[in-house]
Structure formats: structure tokens, C-alpha cells
Symmetry: C2
DNA sequence: TGCAATTAGCACTCAATGGGTGCTAATTAC
DNA sequence: GTAATTAGCACCCATTGAGTGCTAATTGCA
């Protein structure tokens, strides 16, 4: 239910860590130990990011990974795409994403039909759009918020507590 | 990968439909046929929403469902919670959500530890927060966008059509 | 009174996938 | 040469989402 995978969690955590460590080379083991994460899985996530070209790897003892680009140039959307695979173009849900940013605008008919039929696609589109414009650098900053909202403080539930 | 379930898709679609049809009673069959959705599954979604008190049901022939409250008072967050079940309080990911809006603030330690460890939680929190403040009425409006962003106009797709 | 259409509720199957592991090879610092 | 690392492949297992079957209860209508 509206969750990204663990792999993405590990991957983003690693990216933030690497962003905090400048051009330094850090091994998968270091990262996994630092955050108490399953080190094998962190390694898998790092491999994905490396294959996608977002990290550079250094093999051998005292090897590791480092960012291939500035954290200000790497978006959360790109990282997630690398970690979870490109959205499948089979289902209509994904097609909206594809035509949104990952591909050409060929099947716009399909998408617009879906837009009418399913309000959910609007939501997911918007979320992804936000991902596409949020950088790892922003994510790494402690005061990060994904959604800048200018409206009412919006009486949250905890008010009643 | 960051997707809501079909059940939620069907449920939100139905809610939007009901919102468009005022106080009218509409059967699950009518809705499913109108959007060419599997009618049994739409019925399941409607049951969930009814159990949660967001819809009122009328049994018997010519029965159906209608909104139990104004579409302006029903949030996407509430609907999703009803359709997908409350976030499980076992995993840390969900705990962030719980302490965010669904429960007391007791285990804030847990959450804040997670916040540091996982940037992903920030993202998901923000998404949920947005769900909590988006109403079905807003969702039903054709020019709906979940994220009001003051930055670049960001070339929408439908513009090109 | 009976029939048809509906909601209500339970249980079940099937396929997909996410999380995790095993194993081996290639590379490199020491 | 050894240990630590990245690279790549294949695999298992538990969860869960999607969908179906079935039966009961309710109600409008002929």
C-alpha cells in the first residue's frame, strides 16, 4: 500500500550517505553497518545504482562507491527508477508515468482515457512528478519536505490527542 | 513500486462518481459498468467504504450506495485507509505514519530514529500528509492536481493534446 | 407470494513480487 | 597470497494483491 521497496529505502539511504561524504569512496559494508541495515541488500541496491550510472564503483580491497554526479543533479525519481526498475509499460497505470517523463508521448490517448477513468492516476502522476524534481541533495538536508504547501496548517488528527 | 491497490483505484473512482451524483443512490453494478471495471471488485471496495462509515448503503432491489458525508469532508487519506486497511504498526515505516496522524505520539523515539535512518520515510510521510488534506471533492474536479507547486509550470501532458 | 436485484460476509485460489540468500568470479590493497 | 571488495547470476520463501465462489439477508415489483 503505497510503499516503495526496501531496496529503494536502502538505496536512498546510501545515496544520502554518499552525498554527505563528498567524493569519498565508501564500501557497501560501511554503509550497511552505519545504519544497521542488511549489508547484502544494501550492496544490491548500490549495484543497481551503479549499473544505472549514478554511482561509480571502485573494486578491490578498500574499494567502494562514490557519486558519479553531484547530488544536486541526481533526482529521487531517477534513483527510484534505477532501484525498482522502469515502470512496466503494460499496465495503464505505468503508461501514465511513461508518457509523463520516461518516454515519448505516443499513447496519449490511452493515458487521457485513464485520467478520466481513474482519479488515482492523477495522484500517482503528481507524486512522480515531484520525485522527478526532488534531488538527493534536497533529500539529504535535515529540513527536507517533499511537499511545499502554502495552505492552511490543516488541523491534523493529532490535534485531538 | 509506489502504487496503491486496484481496490483503492476502484474505490476512489466510485467515490468520485458518487460525488458527481449528489445524494443519488447508485448501485455497484451501475458504477462498474460505467467505467468498465470488474463489478465484483468495485462492490468489494464499496463494502469497505461502507463499513468505514463513508458511504451509506441501501439494500434490496434498486438499492445501492450514497455518500454518508459531503465529498468536501471526506479525504483521500480516509478513503485509502478504509480501502487498504490501516497501516500496520509493526514495521517502522508504518509507525511513522501512525505517529503522524493515525495514532498517539507515544513512540516518537522510534520514529525519529527512523527519520534519520531513512529518508524514504520523509517522502512517504509527506505523501500521506497530502492525502489527508486532499478531499474527494477536489479529486473529482477535472483540474485537480495533488501538488500545488509554485515552481516551474512544468509542461503538463494534456497541454500538448 | 415469488422473483429478481441488490448489499453483506466469508473463504478460497492463483500469480506476482518483494525480501532475502547462496555461490562464484573478477579486481585490488597490503 | 590473502583478505576485502564489487559483479553477476540463480534461487527460495512468505506475503499480498487480484479475482472468484458461494450463501444469506434485504427489498422493490409484478
Amino acid at each position: 500500500m503505497l510503499k516503495l521497496t526496501k531496496r529503494t529505502e536502502y538505496g536512498l539511504t546510501a545515496l544520502v550517505h554518499l552525498a554527505d561524504h563528498g567524493g569519498e569512496t565508501v564500501s557497501a559494508r560501511k554503509i550497511s553497518q552505519h545504519y544497521s541495515l542488511p549489508n547484502r541488500l544494501v550492496a544490491e541496491a548500490l549495484k543497481d545504482l551503479c549499473r544505472a550510472g549514478h554511482l561509480k564503483s571502485v573494486r578491490g580491497a578498500s574499494g567502494g562507491y562514490l557519486l558519479a554526479q553531484s547530488p544536486a543533479d541526481l533526482t529521487v525519481g531517477e534513483a527510484v527508477a534505477a532501484l525498482e526498475g522502469a515502470p512496466k509499460s503494460t499496465d495503464c497505470e505505468a503508461k501514465a508515468l511513461v508518457s509523463m517523463g520516461f518516454g515519448a508521448l505516443g499513447d496519449l490517448n490511452v493515458e487521457s482515457k485513464c485520467m478520466i477513468r481513474s482519479p488515482l492516476h492523477k495522484i500517482q502522476e503528481d507524486i512522480w512528478r515531484q520525485f522527478e524534481r526532488t534531488t538527493i541533495q534536497e533529500l539529504a538536508s535535515p529540513e527536507f519536505t517533499l511537499l511545499r504547501d502554502e495552505r492552511s496548517p490543516h488541523t491534523q488528527l493529532q490535534n485531538s490527542a
